[in-house]
């Protein structure tokens, strides 16, 4: 029943036999060992599991691992290069855009896509762009501030 998948995660090739029903988030976390993306709801509402698949932000709890075969996945662990944080990570830190941190990996990945599509978003555009990612701690204001700061820094 198991199927072999080969994909690139954060720049490296991974190859495993997986059950067709295995969700991408479970593959990333439990097989490939990337526990940065989190499971918050299993219903694609909270966005804590957001990763990038072929450059598009995807809620990895609603995608099967086999659907990621031959694709390129970027998780939060792949954002910093040579120990240097990306400007969005840096902005989240500076602006206190996180408290418990559970939603943060998904929130950062969603922010990254938002800024790729719209490098200078207005506040309503930021809030709209992050509507698929829930945070229960911050009230979102510092997250919005962080995205604005990252935009200014040219993320």
């Amino acid at each position: 029943m198991k199927r072999k998948i080969t994909l690139k995660i954060n720049g490296k090739i991974y190859s495993h036999e997986v059950e067709p029903r295995m969700l991408l988030i479970h593959y990333l976390r439990e097989i490939a060992g990337f526990t940065g993306p989190h499971v918050g709801c299993e219903t694609s509402l909270c966005g804590a599991c957001t990763v990038s698949v072929d450059g598009k932000a995807v809620k990895s709890c609603t995608m099967f691992a086999v659907q990621a075969d031959a694709r390129e996945v970027l998780t939060i662990e792949g954002l910093a290069t040579d120990g240097k944080l990306s400007s969005i990570q840096e902005a989240f830190w500076n602006e206190h855009a996180l408290q418990c941190g559970f939603c943060t990996p998904g929130m950062i990945m969603a922010s990254r896509q938002l800024l790729e599509r719209n490098p200078h978003p207005t506040e309503p555009e930021i809030r709209h762009g992050l509507e698929g990612n829930l945070c229960r701690c911050t009230g979102y204001q510092h997250i919005v501030n962080a995205v604005q700061a990252a935009a200014k820094a040219g993320a």
Partner: protein, 777 residues
């Protein structure tokens, strides 16, 4: 000898970004679900689909023979496991037996019935479907007022009615005050059931080493030490054979201030199968089985003179308890009673609580825990009184505040408010919001047919829990400070931060006291094998009670450092300041790292002094602390749709001295938006059969980024005299101030329809219907 004394800049009071964050923004933090162990098994729990039913039989054979399943346990297997604990006690309290797995009956939807253990999480989930339970459904009751009616189904058939307790508290002469009153206003109001919804659900990993008789539980909790004491009792383990570790915890808001069935259950499973086991709560389980908050029906009466002077306040409080008592369930409404007078000079109050069992998941502490309900009550009543007297709500409040010169103030409910200047934040908020300008704008808006509202709420809250005699499990907090031989500092706090940022704020305190760089301080928490006993993080207590414990531990260390400095500088006149021991006669100095090294090398010890630089302090607070503040909210209601738009939100809070303004802002923002969730969006809905209708995030609306307004924050600073840091606590303030401010604003917006009161949440449908009915609900 020339000496340069480097006076390090004070870090307390600075906006410092958090030490916690690098691991969290890189995805390298470890939450419970991230833990993997060799041979680890996965548990899944079968839960009742019925709110009330007798279990005729359970057949586990098919599940047991499913490939990959190693064990299935039911209620009959766990008879040796003690009951899920309730730490609260009230006179005459009925405490139902609360087994970790259902025995012969289920009492709410989601009640755990069986646990499957398998080699893989998918197999465990599959096997749940293979367990056959024969239920005989019974009539359920989910509404607390219906549960009080004669002939209501008995939630616990062993008792004739659903009353778990009644509780009366009185101060002054309320009947006399009401008899003398010139105005009495009455209002029924509800504070609806809410689902805390921490983004990380609960989870447990249990590992048992049989030869050592040593059980380790990794749990997403706010109270590792209390959990260790209580779970050890449940499992019949020696307390020192149980280690509880809280790895990264993804939010709690009170929902993890508890000991749940699953913690003991996973310990039991690990001991039975001899392998590590992991259980991670699904979101649906989280909504069905983790405690809910609020759940009040309140009947208020306020008595006043015609000039607005308040005379008395009465409350009948019906508390929906759910089917069982969790750790603090019955105690929560008593906190509402303590805080019912709010910031005002009510000398005559009375309150009667009825705690009611329903076929729902238990209620317990959720951000604010009893105080949001109380503040909502008194602040709504002040607005109702203002409307009755045609007074400005700000003027009515300013008239009745406890005066700044009246502290400490003994309330009619038996508390001693520590310090305050209650008019100050209200005046500041009015200035920031331009209150008079807003009223003019409102008059114009009304002329133009727009429904603009201005809402004020002021709040006081009891926090920094708390003096031990007033708490169920001790209200002190602990800290150990170790200065390592090379001079770096390790702090072990008995609090259990999970987002609040004490790894940073505590390091700021240490850096100031010892004159060391922030980076030289590491704060450790949440491991009972490493950290001395502590109480935990809840009730806005971590900085307000854990902070002073740290402060006093540092004071005793500083004295010890000074003594070692005397030895090293061969002087009897030495002070320790800015990281240096200084001989006041010669001006010679020795730095902390050298003193630390010498203290462990111990070639020469000061008189009556042990080697090393380690100090532990358990601090017992002499009183609670009472933060306060004022929120002003401008709303506009869409006449056609009933949609509420928050146009402005001004929050002026006084949480005493501020350690880190950046983090305090974060707490206020998050708290306000949780309060806004209650005011506008959230409600846990059970149908008449006790089914949880809002069982997923699809149906339960926590605020999204688009639903949250920008908040303008400001502060007044009134230090608390209760502790040496002057801090008061800020974790719950935003939530407590928000819901009445929003509802007052929307009621104000709809006042032209004759609307006096609206129960939360203020959904568009509810407001639209009110407008269609001309203000009559």
């Amino acid at each position: 000898m020339a000496t340069t004394i480097t006076q390090t800049e004070s870090l307390v009071g600075k906006r410092i970004r958090r030490k916690e964050d690098p691991r969290l923004i890189t995805g390298t933090a470890t939450y419970v679900e991230d833990i993997q162990m060799p041979g680890m098994h996965h548990a899944a729990i079968l839960r009742s689909p019925h709110a009330a039913a007798r279990i005729r039989s359970i057949d586990i054979q098919k599940a047991l023979s499913h490939p990959g399943v190693v064990a299935v346990f039911t209620g009959a297997d766990v008879e040796g496991v003690g009951p899920v604990p309730c730490g609260a006690s009230l006179p005459g309290l009925r405490v139902p037996a609360h087994s970790v797995l259902a025995r012969d009956r289920v009492y709410f939807v989601g009640h755990p019935v069986a646990v499957v253990v398998a080699t893989d999480r998918y197999i465990a989930a599959d096997a749940l479907d293979l367990i056959e339970v024969d239920y005989e459904p019974a009539q359920a009751v989910a509404d607390p007022e219906k549960a009080l009616e004669p002939g209501a189904p008995a939630v616990h058939p062993e008792w004739p009615d659903n009353i778990a307790f009644t509780y009366h508290q009185q101060g002054g002469e309320p009947d006399q005050a009401f008899a003398q009153a010139e105005v009495v206003v009455k209002q029924r109001m509800t504070s609806q059931r809410l689902i805390p919804t921490a983004m990380e659900t609960r989870g447990v990993v249990a590992e048992y080493r049989g030869v050592e008789k040593q059980l380790t539980l990794y749990s997403s909790t706010q109270i590792p030490h209390l959990m260790r004491t209580l779970v050890a009792q449940m499992l019949g383990l020696a307390e020192n054979r149980l280690r509880v570790i809280t790895p990264e915890v993804g939010g709690g808001f009170g929902s993890k201030l508890n000991v749940y069935a699953e913690e003991a259950l996973m310990g039991f499973v690990a001991m039975k199968i001899g392998k590590p086991v992991k259980w991670i709560e699904s979101r649906r389980e989280n909504f069905q089985c983790t405690i809910h908050g609020r759940g009040h029906v309140d009947y208020y009466e306020i008595a006043a003179k015609k000039d607005g002077t308040v005379l008395g306040l009465k409350l009948k409080l019906i508390q929906d308890l759910g089917a069982y008592h969790q750790l603090l369930t019955p105690a929560i409404p008593t906190l509402s009673v303590l805080m019912m007078p709010g910031l005002y000079k009510f000398r005559n109050v009375s309150a009667d609580i009825v705690g009611v069992f329903t076929n729902c998941v238990p209620t317990d502490a959720y951000r604010g825990a009893g105080r949001p309900e109380a503040t909502h009550g008194v602040e709504r009543m002040m607005d109702l009184l203002a409307a009755e007297l045609r007074m400005d709500p700000a003027e009515l409040r300013l008239k009745n505040f406890i005066g700044a010169d009246e502290f400490p103030y003994a309330t009619a409910t038996g508390l001693s408010y520590d310090s305050g200047d209650y008019a100050a934040p209200l005046k500041k908020a009015m200035e920031v919001a331009d209150y008079n300008g807003l009223r003019q704008e409102q008059a114009k808006a009304r002329e133009a047919g727009r429904l603009m509202g201005i809402g004020i709420a002021t709040y006081g809250e009891i926090c920094a829990f708390g003096p031990s005699p007033a708490t169920p499990a001790g209200g002190w907090e602990s800290a150990t400070v170790k200065i390592e031989p090379s001079g770096q500092v390790t702090v072990m706090t008995g609090t259990s931060p999970h987002g609040q940022g004490e790894e940073t704020t505590f390091a700021q305190i240490v850096a100031d006291e010892l004159g060391v760089p922030l980076d030289d301080v590491v704060v450790i928490h949440g491991d009972t094998a490493i950290v001395q006993y502590g109480i935990g993080t809840f009730g806005s207590r971590a900085t307000a009670v854990g902070g002073p414990a740290l402060f006093y531990a540092l004071q005793s260390l500083k004295e010890k450092i000074r003594k070692f400095g005397e030895v090293l500088l061969e002087s009897d006149d030495v002070t320790f300041s800015g990281g240096l021991c200084i001989c006041n006669k010669s001006g010679r100095t020795v730095e902390l790292a050298k003193v630390a090294g010498a203290s462990y090398r111990a070639l020469k010890l000061p008189p009556n002094t042990e080697p090393g630089l380690v100090a532990t302090y358990f601090w017992e607070p002499p009183n609670f602390a009472f933060p306060f503040g004022a929120h002003i909210v401008v709303t506009e209601v869409d006449r056609d749709t009933g949609q509420v738009e928050v146009k402005r939100y001004v929050a002026v809070d006084d949480c005493g001295r501020i350690i880190n303004p950046l983090l305090v802002e974060g707490q206020i923002h998050g708290g306000v938006i949780q309060g806004l969730g209650q005011a506008l969006y959230e409600q846990a809905v059970y149908d008449e059969n006790g089914q949880l209708v809002t069982g997923e995030l699809t149906d339960y609306a926590i605020p999204k980024a688009t639903m949250a307004p920008r908040i303008e924050t400001d502060h007044t600073v009134t230090p608390s005299p209760v502790n040496p840091l002057g801090v008061k606590g800020v974790g719950e303030a935003g939530t407590i101030g928000c819901s009445p401010a929003v509802v007052n604003s929307v009621v104000d917006a709809l006042s032209s329809f004759g609307v006096r009161h609206i129960d939360m949440p203020l959904t568009p449908e509810k407001l639209w219907r009110l407008m269609q009915a001309g203000g009559r609900a």
